[in-house]
Symmetry: C2
Subunit: 201 residues, 2 copies
DNA sequence: GCCTTCGCTTGACACTTGTCAAGAAAACTT
DNA sequence: AAGTTTTCTTGACAAGTGTCAAGCGAAGGC
């Protein structure tokens, strides 16, 4: 049994994180449906049985993993927001970061969209997905409001709208990147340069 | 064996369509990964073995089905485009239709996003998805250019950008509709009223 | 009226899946 | 050093998967 009241909760949690990290590798590569626990364990230092020692079931592992990942993501553009001193500079830095994260972490983003879509079919995923999506919306909204401020304008849409549209852009870019690779990313940056001015006036 | 050179291709194809129709029911309800061939056949007048009589494998059935469905969809807004006589009228009719199709065909749209996402993990899906996505982009572009004309303006983004953004809006609405239901749809219409003017100026 | 082809069902196959119990190994306690 | 608890492995289970071969009734040609 997992230690119910033991002291080294940190040790226990560190293993969970370790498992989550391995799980993310496999999930990102194969997607939610095709990543079996044996495959996940295979890409980890452990055997397949260990998952049920640290997690109740596959769903809990997946949710824990994606939370674990997205916790780091929602601050991705904070430096951009903080350091940019003009609207143009912010747009450039933002566009760069967007392209860069597709380049560096495409599997993770694929997984995110996979899980978000699966949440429409599997109720147990919904709570976590909704929460993370809200955090992402807030992250994007910080960018947009900061842009508006720097441009001496006000946002032309509410936060959910701005997020939905930029997310649509990002998702299309990710999709295209999957088949066409690198060249797509310039297009994404170009799109962002066109769209951001529409979002504040 | 399936009839290789027989005359009644129509009969053969009609069965394929029938199968596709049944498959769409199950796929829309359970999603791509969880819809087994037995389940699909269970929601049809046939037994589970018949699938391999009309289709080579599951992938072919799924692709055929989603093509079958989307073929009818890509004309969804053509009447709106044709009949609207002012920019405002077009926006209203477009927003209405968007909300209506979520109300009426949410499972189909969920399936579409599911498959589009899966195509990032499974190469065999890509060709069909790419093709359909292009058709959807064209469909949306007809709406946007018509709007621009009626508004005496020109589109402020290229077609892929406009599509990506409106698709993002739609997807977010579908997601919210899945958990919150009907009330979400008014929000979608409101968003469309805000966004369309941004897309042409 | 036989015989071939077509349309479909049935039942099996090989394999994968999540889950869990039993117990080995390691770590810690005393 | 012995005992206890934690950690992890192994092997099995039942259920479910896509696929396909064997066969059955009906249709249609001769």
């Amino acid at each position: 049994m997992p230690p119910v009241k033991s002291r080294p909760v940190d040790k226990y949690d560190r293993r969970r994180d370790e498992l989550a990290e391995s799980a993310l590798l496999t999930l990102g590569e194969m997607g939610y449906a095709r990543a079996s626990l044996r495959e996940i364990a295979g890409n980890s230092p452990f055997s397949h049985g260990v998952v049920h020692y640290y997690f109740q079931d596959k769903t809990e592992l997946v949710i824990y993993s994606v939370r674990y990942y997205k916790a780091r993501c929602v601050t991705r553009y904070d430096a951009v927001v903080r350091d940019s001193e003009s609207a143009v500079e912010l747009v450039e830095a933002f566009a760069d970061k967007l392209a860069q994260t597709i380049r560096d972490e495409a599997p993770m983003h694929r997984l995110w969209y996979d899980l978000r879509t699966q949440s429409m079919f599997e109720e147990p995923l919904r709570a976590a997905i909704t929460e993370i999506d809200a955090a992402l919306e807030a992250m994007i909204w910080r960018v947009v409001t900061r842009y508006a401020t720097l441009a001496g304008a006000t946002p032309s849409t509410p936060a959910p709208t701005a997020y939905a549209m930029l997310d649509g852009l990002f998702q299309q870019a990710l999709l295209a990147y999957t088949t066409a690779g690198e060249p797509v990313l310039d297009g994404l940056a170009a799109q962002v340069r066109i769209v951001m001015p529409l979002l504040a006036r």
